[in-house]
């Protein structure tokens, strides 16, 4: 059973649809008793980091997430919330990954002229996680974001948009994808399947 952490933060429907397509059992909940009984957890998220952290706090989910020993995958904003700090709302995050989250415009080299948000398909390289079993180096996945996590020891894949950034992170039982695996075609489906333990 997969628990989708439901803290009122966007894209839950698309994550649910992805699990339905894969035939996976899941439950939507913000109740830590229900979530504790799950085999693994998904932390989705679309929205603003400061607001989302406030929602996690309001629902008493901060310590629960920090202390869980279940495999946990954060998606998009969900991954950023697992980092140490975000410039968006200038907020301290969950601190699982040591990375900091900054706005693209603050990390781009001067005069690069790239559009923000990054919207579209970009490639992932230096793949370093079980999430990517059976996924080729340089595969394309779908991104929509204005903030990015820097590169560090927890970096599990690298993507370049003006600068190289962490398109996924991994530490112990915690994983995060900046991209949307649920919108990333067959590659994304493979990544979710790997997380769910459905692949060979």
């Amino acid at each position: 059973m997969t628990g989708i952490i439901d803290y009122e933060a966007g894209n839950i429907r698309s994550v649910e649809n992805a699990l339905k397509r894969l035939g996976a059992d899941y439950v939507l909940s913000r109740d830590t008793a229900v979530l504790s009984a799950c085999d693994r957890l998904l932390l989705p998220g679309v929205g603003e980091a400061g607001w989302a952290m406030a929602k996690l706090r309001e629902n008493n989910l901060v310590d629960f997430i920090r202390n869980t020993d279940k495999p946990l995958l954060g998606i998009c904003l969900g991954m950023q919330l697992l980092c140490s700090r975000s410039e968006e709302g200038d907020v301290e995050c969950l601190g699982i990954f040591r990375n900091k989250v900054r706005h693209f415009s603050h990390v781009f080299p001067a005069g690069i002229g790239l559009k923000v948000p990054q919207i579209g398909w970009n490639d992932i390289t230096s793949l370093k996680s079980g999430l990517f079993d059976g996924v080729k180096e340089g595969s394309y996945v779908y991104f929509v974001h204005s903030y990015c996590a820097d590169i560090g020891e927890d970096t599990a894949s690298v993507t370049e948009y003006g600068i190289p950034f962490s398109s996924s992170l991994c530490r112990g039982n915690f994983m995060g994808c900046q991209f949307h695996p649920e919108k990333s075609g067959d590659t994304g489906e493979r990544i979710i399947g790997n997380f769910l333990g459905l692949t060979d």
């Binding site: 966007g10 429907r13 649809n17």
Partner: protein, 253 residues
């Protein structure tokens, strides 16, 4: 590297696919969910569904269709057509659409853009602009190109960005349905002045036209949208992408 997107557009009436030629006359071309799956399988990067139903029943069928599309495809999709309130947008986003496009209602009430953006985020607001060149001035039209507004393309696109649009989808009414190429100069100008992605629509007839509008020497657009050339199989997406790649245009293969 971030790739250029290829976006087939499907017009939907009463929950079924149609394609309007030059916004006139409709010809049914297939079931929307089947077509969406087929395009996704061919390598389309994103899909757009425009509801052109005129009735309440038709619009209800559309939101049900959006739920079925969301369940059945694993690439992003935008829905539009007749969205005039935040609640209209909310229904479609809750049904599983990734983005909504607003057009006529935003021209009438620009605050709609900021209202949707502040509730759901800029990333899900596409502002669609239909414009026609009248004596050298690109006049914005509404209601499928049938009425002129008092807005001008470039200033309206800039205003839309300021209000929180996540992307601009410009259709040249002079090029749409002609199969003679996109309005490349206008896309180049839009792309230079805006900090958000620009989607080109209207005029695709050949692979060369799509290459031209996406190329950094041409229209500099971030994505190319087309309908007929894809629906009638005149351009096949795998061939298109291979040929774009051979021209040095980054695409997802």
């Amino acid at each position: 590297m971030l790739t250029k997107r290829i976006i087939p557009c499907l017009d939907i009436k009463d929950g079924k696919t149609v394609k309007g030629i030059n916004f006139l006359g409709l010809k049914s071309v297939g079931d929307p969910v089947d077509m969406a799956r087929a395009y996704s399988g061919q390598g389309a990067d994103e899909l757009v569904f425009l509801d052109i139903s005129a009735t309440i029943e038709g619009r209800k069928a559309f939101s049900e269709l959006v739920g079925r599309i969301a369940l059945n495809i694993n690439i992003p999709f935008t829905v539009g057509g007749g969205i005039s309130t935040v609640e209209d947008a909310a229904i479609l986003l809750r049904a599983g659409a990734d983005k909504v496009s607003v057009n006529s209602a935003a021209v009438r009430n620009p605050g709609l853009i900021s209202d949707i953006a502040s509730r759901f985020g800029s990333q899900c607001v596409v502002v669609a602009i239909d414009a026609k060149n009248v004596d050298g001035v690109w006049k914005v039209t509404t209601h499928g190109g049938s009425r002129f507004s008092d807005k001008e393309l470039f200033s309206w696109a800039g205003q839309a960005e300021t209000l929180g649009a996540g992307e601009i989808l410009f259709t040249s009414m002079d090029h749409d349905g002609t199969c003679s190429g996109y309005a490349c100069n206008e896309y180049r100008r839009l792309s230079g002045m805006l900090g958000i992605p620009v989607i080109a629509s209207g005029g695709a007839g050949t692979v060369g036209h799509i290459a031209e509008v996406l190329s950094s020497d041409g229209g500099c657009a971030d994505a190319a949208l087309a309908a007929s050339v894809f629906h009638y199989g005149e351009i096949l997406i795998p061939d298109l992408k291979r040929r774009l790649a051979s021209c040095g245009i980054p695409v997802r293969l």
